[in-house]
Amino acid sequence: MNVAERCQPLLDVLREPARMAALDLGEWDRLLRQAGAAGLLSRLAVQVEALGLDARIPARVRPHLTAARSVAAKQRQAVRWEARRLAKALAGLDGPVLLLKGAAYALADLPPAAGRLFGDIDLLAPKAQLGRAEGALMLAGWHASGKSEYDQRYYRRWMHELPPMIHLRRGTVLDVHHNLLPETARIRTRAEPILADARPLPDLPGLFVPRDTDLVLHSACHLFHEGEWGHGLRDLVDLDALLRAFAGAAFWPRLLARAADLNLGRPLYYALDCCRRWLRTPVPEGILAACPARPPAWQRPLMRVLFDAGLASAHAGCRPPGAGVALFLLFVRGHYLRMPWRLLLPHLLHQALHRDRPQD
C-alpha cells in the first residue's frame, strides 16, 4: 500500500470535498480520525457546510462536524480580536508589522482561512524595530514565555525571531520574526522586499499581510525547513488553497521571479511538487521545470520519500513502514538547514541533556 492509499479517505476528500457526500459510516470513522489528527477536521466541516452537503452526511457524523465548526469559529473570532490588540499595542512603531500564516489568512480573508485552526500568531517586523516592538508588546501584557536563559540567548543570538511571547491574561502566544529563516540557515533570504511590498489591512492600521507571492513562499519555506511535521499536511493544504486562489497567467512568472529574488527556489520547488502529487493542485508543468534552484534529479525521489512520510505522519493509520526513520531524518534535516554543524552539535547536546528538566 502506498502513502496515498494509506491516507484514504482523507486525501480523496481534500482533493475533492464533494466526495464527502458519498462516504459510508466506516469511511467517516477513518476520516474523522485522520482529519482530527492532522488538524483538518474543522476545514472539512466548513467545506461540508459551504457545499450544502449537510443533509447527505450520516446523522452519527453530523455532531462531530458541528463541533469542529464551533472550534474554527472561536479561533477565528479570537485571532481577529488578538489582531486588534496587536494593532493598538504596536501603533507607535515605524515600519510595517506583518501578520504571517494563519493570522494573515484570517485577517485578509484568504481561502486557507476557512475552518483553519491556529496555534501561535506569527509576526514579521523590520529587524531595526524588534527592540521597540518587544517593549510595546510587553507594555500590552505579552511577556517572554517560560524559556531558560540558554533558550533566551539561543533565540536572540542565532534565531530569526524573539523568544515566544505569551499574554499574561489571555494566554495567546506571539512569535515575532525579523526574517523567514534563522541568521544561521544554509539558505539566506531577505525580509526587506517582503516588508516593502506588504499589503495594508484596512481595519487594522499599522498591520499588514505579505503580498500573494510572498504568502506562498513563506508558507513553503516554513513547511520545508521545519523538522517537525505534525502540521505538515495542514500547511500543504494552506499552500494548495493559496495557489488555487492566486493561479493565473500573470501569477506563475511573478512567483518564480520572486522565488529567485528571495533565494527561496528550493522550498518552492518542493512545495509545488508535493501540492501537485498530494492535492492535485493545478501547477502548470513548465512552472515546476522553470523553478529556480531545483534540487538535482538524483535527489528528488529521495526527498519525496522523506516528505511523503512527513506529510502522512499525523495519524498512525497513514504512516508508511519506516516512517520513524524518515521522520528522524526530517528532524535532523530541519536542524541541519537551520545552522552549521559547529553550532548544531552543541545545541542538540544541550537540548538532549536538559530535556527532562522542568522549565520555570
Binding site: A67, V71, K74
Partner: protein, 301 residues
C-alpha cells in the same frame, strides 16, 4: 446486546482485540485494553450499558502500559486517544480510574455540539436538577445519594446542553466518589455497587458507583432544566435551600464550563436559557437523609 451479557472471559478477549464498543448516552467508544482491572471494572459498573457493532465510533481509546524501560522498574499505565496520549502515565493500579477520566476527557475535549458545564445532572418527574459545585462541596456524595433514592442520573461531572432545544442530555456513566464519601455512600446504601478503589490518585482515593438501571435504560430521554442548586456540606448544618442570584449562577457556570467560551454567543444564549428556566438555590446540609428529603420536597413542589 448489553455488556453484562458477556462472560468475563469474552469481555477480556474483546477488550484485548480492540473489539469492544460501548454506548454511553450519545457516544460510542471503542475500547482497547488487555488489563484485567479494566475488564473487571467495566463488568461491575457498566453491565447494563448497550454494546454496538462499531461501524462508527465517536472515540477510540486504549489503556495499557507505556513503552520504555521504566515500565520494568515501576509498573505504569497510560491512556491513548486514537494513538495520542493526553495525560502523564499513572501507577498501574489506577487503570480503571484513568479510563473513566479518559472518557470524560474525550467528551469534554470534543463534544462542542453541546454546551458542557461542570455540573452533575439528575432528573425527577421530567424536571432536571443541575448541580454545579466546587471540589469538596459534597456534590458527588449528594449526586450518588439522590440517584440511589429514585432520581435518574444524567451525569455526575459534565452537564450536556443540547444546542437545538436547550435540554439536558444524559451520559448515565458511573458516579466518581472520593475519599470519605465512598464509605458514607456504602453506609447509607448497603446495596450500592462500588468498583475497586484507586488509592493515592491526584484526587485522593477514588471509587466509582454503578448507575441505577433506570438511569442507564432511560439515558436517551432529555430533560428540561428546572433547578440550578449549589450544594455545600457543612458540619452540623440543617438541610436548607436558600435563593441564589441567577446572575452569579450564570457567571459561576460560565467560568467553570468546559466550552462556554469556545461557543461564544451560543454559549451565552444557552447558559442564559438555563438560568431563565431554572430556580437557583444554595443548599447547605450535613446529614444525607435530610438532604434526600429536602430534594424530594423540591421535586414535589
Amino acid at each position: 446486546m448489553k455488556l453484562g451479557e458477556l462472560s468475563a472471559r469474552e469481555l477480556r478477549e474483546r477488550l484485548a482485540d480492540n473489539a469492544l464498543v460501548l454506548r454511553t448516552g450519545p457516544f460510542a467508544t471503542r475500547m482497547h485494553s488487555s488489563l484485567p482491572q479494566v475488564a473487571d471494572g467495566l463488568l461491575r459498573l457498566y453491565a447494563d450499558f448497550p454494546l454496538e457493532d462499531g461501524a462508527f465510533c465517536d472515540f477510540h481509546v486504549r489503556v495499557g502500559p507505556p513503552k520504555g524501560i521504566r515500565r520494568w522498574l515501576k509498573p505504569q499505565i497510560n491512556f491513548w486517544y486514537d494513538g495520542h496520549s493526553p495525560f502523564k502515565p499513572l501507577p498501574a493500579n489506577h487503570a480503571f480510574a484513568l479510563l473513566e477520566w479518559g472518557m470524560n476527557w474525550c467528551v469534554a475535549g470534543h463534544a462542542h455540539h453541546y454546551l458542557m458545564l461542570h455540573a452533575a445532572v439528575l432528573e425527577r418527574g421530567g424536571r432536571a436538577l443541575v448541580m454545579p459545585g466546587d471540589p469538596g462541596a459534597g456534590k458527588s456524595t449528594l449526586t450518588a445519594a439522590l440517584m440511589l433514592s429514585g432520581w435518574r442520573l444524567l451525569s455526575d461531572e459534565i452537564a450536556l446542553i443540547d444546542r437545538d432545544d436547550g435540554l439536558l442530555v444524559g451520559l448515565g456513566r458511573p458516579v466518581s466518589l472520593k475519599n470519605a464519601s465512598i464509605d458514607v455512600i456504602r453506609g447509607h446504601f448497603p446495596d450500592a455497587v462500588i468498583g475497586a478503589p484507586a488509592h493515592d490518585t491526584h484526587k485522593g482515593t477514588v471509587a466509582h458507583l454503578r448507575p441505577t438501571a433506570d438511569s442507564v435504560a432511560r439515558v436517551g430521554e432529555k430533560a428540561r432544566p428546572a433547578w440550578v442548586v449549589f450544594p455545600r456540606w457543612r458540619k452540623g448544618a440543617e438541610a436548607r435551600l436558600t435563593p441564589h442570584s441567577r446572575a452569579e449562577a450564570f457567571l459561576h457556570t460560565a467560568n467553570h464550563a468546559f466550552n462556554y467560551s469556545l461557543l461564544g454567543e451560543l454559549g451565552f444564549e444557552l447558559n442564559a436559557a438555563l438560568m431563565d428556566a431554572s430556580a437557583c438555590r444554595d443548599f447547605e446540609y450535613s446529614r444525607l437523609e435530610d438532604a434526600v428529603r429536602a430534594f424530594a420536597e423540591l421535586a414535589a413542589s
